[in-house]
């Protein structure tokens, strides 16, 4: 097998649900991540897509050990990250970095850009003197296309635009020369007109610095063009995984199809959101009382009794394209679904 940077096996994260007043017993669990498997190869951009509450961000936070896992294993280059000794964990904290969604919140507003960028170097002891620190900071700022670093270094986050701020957040993650980066909705807080520039920067830095990304987004179109492979998550599980142009070009799981249909577009001939079956709009079950069988069955227009009873496995339908649906093969052949998928492709 090619070099794997990340391998996730049966990963679970259950959060204790708030108990009601006077409620007895062990209480309930919010099953945010509920048995997820995937791996990310060196140099790959792997996307996790889905709606809020599907567990995509929690999965990323677990990989960076920002949360404790409830079950399963996470391997970084074949080492299980939760069983590492303290000293090795520190090395992991350098090698695995994160870019958060909201640079206004993730960058401490009292610090200058220089302080924000020098702090990680100090913590990890990566600069032996002031001049080395300065040269590393200058270098990383030019990597993220910030042209005039000297005057820039004395500014504070509130003096920058959203796009500049996200570039600083990227620089801050990369100054430690990581090999794995978790990008959590890195453009969703930014104006549409500057998003492509940030995405291009992330793609270019991957090539240049040999990075591997976990890219979490709710935006299907962005994931299609940014990621090599994507997994669609629903209620803590992966329902479909494969090459991004396959999964988002011709989605096979009814949930992925619904996500794609729901997208509004500029093209007046492709307003498929208007044809979205009403049942799909049903309430999203909460992650405490997960439906029996297939988790999507209460909202699925094709659900049968089998779907209520038996949870489908992720099965390989095409080369490297896996779908967790009992009827994935049949659905492709059925007329109304064909109409639907034809419209989508």
């Amino acid at each position: 097998m090619e070099d794997l940077i990340i391998r996730v096996e049966q990963l679970k994260k259950w959060f204790p649900a708030k108990k009601r007043l006077l409620e007895r017993g062990g209480g309930n669990w919010v099953r945010a991540v509920d048995g997820v498997d995937f791996s990310i190869a060196k140099g790959e951009i792997f996307g996790l897509v889905g709606e809020s509450g599907c567990g995509k961000t929690t999965t990323g936070r677990l990989i960076l050990a920002l949360e404790d896992k409830t079950g399963g294993n996470i391997y970084y280059k074949n080492q299980e990250i939760f069983s590492l000794k303290r000293r090795n964990q520190r090395e992991l904290r350098r090698a695995m970095q994160v870019i958060f969604q909201n640079p206004y919140e993730s960058l401490e507003s009292r610090l200058s850009i220089f302080q924000l960028l020098s702090e990680p170097l100090k913590i990890h002891g990566l600069a032996s003197n002031e001049s080395e620190m300065h040269s590393k900071i200058r270098e990383i700022l030019s990597e993220v296309d910030i042209a005039e670093p000297e005057e820039f270094l004395h500014k504070h986050p509130f003096e920058l635009s959203g796009g500049q701020l996200q570039r600083v957040a990227i620089a801050r993650a990369l100054i430690l020369e990581p090999d794995f980066v978790f990008a959590d909705e890195p453009v969703s807080m930014l104006d549409v007109s500057i998003r492509a520039g940030i995405l291009e920067l992330l793609l270019r830095l991957r090539e240049k610095l040999g990075l591997t990304y976990l890219f979490v987004t709710h935006d299907l179109a962005i994931s299609k063009f940014t990621c090599d492979r994507v997994a669609v998550m629903y209620l803590g599980k992966i329902v479909e995984i494969g090459q991004s142009h396959e999964v988002l070009g011709r989605p096979l799981h009814p949930y992925s199809q619904a996500l794609k249909m729901a997208l509004p577009t500029l093209d007046a001939d492709r307003r498929t959101y208007r044809e979205l079956p009403d049942v799909i709009g049903g309430e999203i079950p909460n992650a405490i009382e997960i439906p029996s069988g297939c988790r999507f069955h209460p909202r699925c227009p094709y659900a049968t009794d089998l779907c209520k009873e038996k949870e489908p496995d992720l099965r390989e339908l095409k080369n490297g394209h896996y779908v967790a649906c009992h009827y994935a093969e049949d659905l492709q052949g059925k007329s109304h679904v064909t109409v639907l998928t034809n419209r989508l492709s």
Binding site: E51, S52, S161, G162, G163, Q164, D191, V192, S193, I194, R195, A196, G197, I198, L199, E200, H218, D219, L220, A221, I222, K224, F225, T226, H245, L248, A258, L259, K260, M261, A262, L263, P264, T265, L266, D267, A268, R270, R271, Y273, R274, L276, I280, G281, E283, I284
Partner: protein
Amino acid sequence: MADLLLDVKDLRSYYYLPDVTVRAIDGVSFGISKAEALGIIGESGSGKSTIGWSVLRALPNPGRIAGGDIRLDGRNLLELDREEMRKIRWKEIAMVTQSAMSSFDPLMRIGDQIIEAVSVHEDIPQEGAVERAKSLFKEVSLEPSRFKSYPHELSGGMRQRAMIAMALACKPKLVIADEPTTALDVIVQAQILKLMDSLKSSLKSLSIMFISHDLSVVAGISEKILVVYGGKMMEYGATAEIIKNSLHPYTIDFVNSFPNIDATKMSFESIPGNPPDMRNPPTGCVFHPRCKHAWSKCKEAVPAWKEVEKDHFVACHLYESGGAWEHGRPHNTS
């Protein structure tokens, strides 16, 4: 035009900060006909929401309307006293915002809040108000059992439906929807858009001002689109014209910055530079520092509003006499 409902002329709304006056909206004019939906599109800082709050005369402090005319059915709203304006709000112009949670009283049942909205503004008996509230619930496809729910017990999509029900409580002539789906997930958003579509066709006289940063969300409902940038109007025209035959370099670039999931490769592009700092906006055309077609005139003078094609207006020196696109824009421009 006889069927014009809202007529805004040369609207100027400024925020008077201690050290500087921010001209959030600086000379904006447009109209909305009866039963028409106008999309107002812009990025952060464009002033798009300020337009909505100005029409309601409810600008947050230290914002004030510095000039212009806002006429609803011919009446100048800026000349009304507070009491007269209070009667217009909700009864004639209602608003739906992004955060439904903060628009409801958290301690009051949803149904009661809608009944209250009906009875405060309309002189009808209690039973009538209850009836009206229940039928509004039906109109926005909320289950009757939710009538007694508190706001926090509803999902985001249900709260947004409740808010739309409340906006329609007094049968307003105009609904201002300011980013009504921005906080929602894509499937819920699709349903709210479907609901807005169907209300638009069932409530035949309703006019909508749909404010958003997301052109794709607005495009399905609006007949017309107004593009604003840096407090100024850039372009106005029929929705399909704005998208397929954009005239202003900003609109052209803005449309190109939207990713299209049906494309086979990354086809969307950024606009270089950053949106203007409204405390210190550029001279001349506010877009000139980011415009790849800018020429000498763009730095010096504010471009005039010009009807370049029928019902298709643009503010850009390229189309003025001596401008490169005076006789039409070349079609390979992007």
